[in-house]
Amino acid sequence: MMNISIARIQAIFMKDYKEFSRNYAISVMVFIPIIMAFLYRDMEFDAAQKMLFPLAITFGMVTAFVQAALIAEEKERNTLRSLLLSPASLADILIGKSALVSTISVIIIALCCYAVNYTPSATMIIAIILSIVFYAALGTICGLFAKSTMETTFTVLPVVIIFPFGPFISMFAERFSVLKIAKWLPSSQLADLAQGDSLVPMIGIVLWTIAAWVAAIILCKKRMVD
């Protein structure tokens, strides 16, 4: 049932690229993490530490937010319904629609790494890519929930602040013990991974990614019918 067509995925990706490059309100987002990374460049912490903030901003503002905005717009303009009525399968649509933000996120993170002079390990690269896939799902879910493009700004905002900023929220855990749960967020797991610990955080990120995509697929299937 889940037949995948590379040609269809590519067509959706190219379409998204054209729309994105003409949508300045959204496409300017890509510069924020890069500017951030260059500002951090000359600070005193080690490279991995410097990378945390641009990484969180990329995941939140680019991967999740841009994805949510693109999906919400497709929903608002009924183009999503038209896609769902075409022979493109749900897998084609979801992969095609995530491909653009994922690619952009990879490029931005690579530029940020260069800016702060950080060389990620192979495990870290895998974890970052998995995180991108997770945030793309998160953005998809937010976009599908939002009633309009305008509304994404509000629905996505909390998500964008909470999920990618786990390590920063954890800093306050000593004062507010509820915030201890923040260490289970995928971003905290990624931060742990950057510190050297690898198996448990990696499993954590994988589980988050699977859970998010299952939710996104269920939600999208629901959107196929009124």
Partner: protein, 282 residues
Amino acid sequence: MTTIIDVRHLKKAFQQSNALADVTFSIQKGEIFGFLGPSGSGKTTTIKILTAQLHKDAGEAFVFDMPVSAMQDSKNREKFGILTDNSGLYSRLSIEENLALYCKLYNVPNTAIKEALEFVNLYGERKKKVSMLSKGMTQRVLLARAILHKPDLLFLDEPTSALDPVNTAHIYKGLRALNELGTTIFLTTHDMQEADTLCHRVAFLNKGTIQAIGTPKQLKEQYSEQTITVELKDGSSQVIKNDAQNAQSLHDWMANNQISRIFSNEPTLGDIFMKITGSDLQ
């Protein structure tokens, strides 16, 4: 004959309204079928159920001999084309770019774009951005997209509601040609003239049920009051029943060379529509 759409005792209710109470009809391969009814009578709801965009509450619905739920399968969606009021285009892309995407999705060569745009008389404007288009032009692009892959079945929900007469006539010509190549067309409209000129068969939907169904000719006969109007040379006009009782008066007028014009009072589809649906407007 092959049955393309078969609907039996279809029911659908929403919270506030009973959209479809009991709808039964079938459409044969090669037909242009007109689904007529006042606003809110359930035309779009029917199309949505037939394309698996909405679940039915009860009854049976088959498309291409498969239960409608099979239309959720991407493979089966290649077989139909659809234009409804919830169809959307990418506003930052040109007309051509929008159609190019769907060529890839339907796996047809890009040469289909030219053909489809000529169908809706928009080929000259293919480079225009969709955000710059008028309502009628948008509707024509959506129609072009619906016929891009020459589907076996075409759902058209009020396809000409925003069009001028010249473009409407051009599109009728195209739809007839497409139909001759084998496309079955399910069309909803408010425009009785459109139904009359384009459709092989029409159904009148009102209050969630089909009130009448048949060829336009059959319906006109069925709803005809069998009267003829005789206009006399003195300027008066007489409406008489077309039966033996009135034969003598007709004969007399004719014998005295009094008649200037004579015609039968066939109802238009519009008259029938009014008759069927008008009662509850009061």
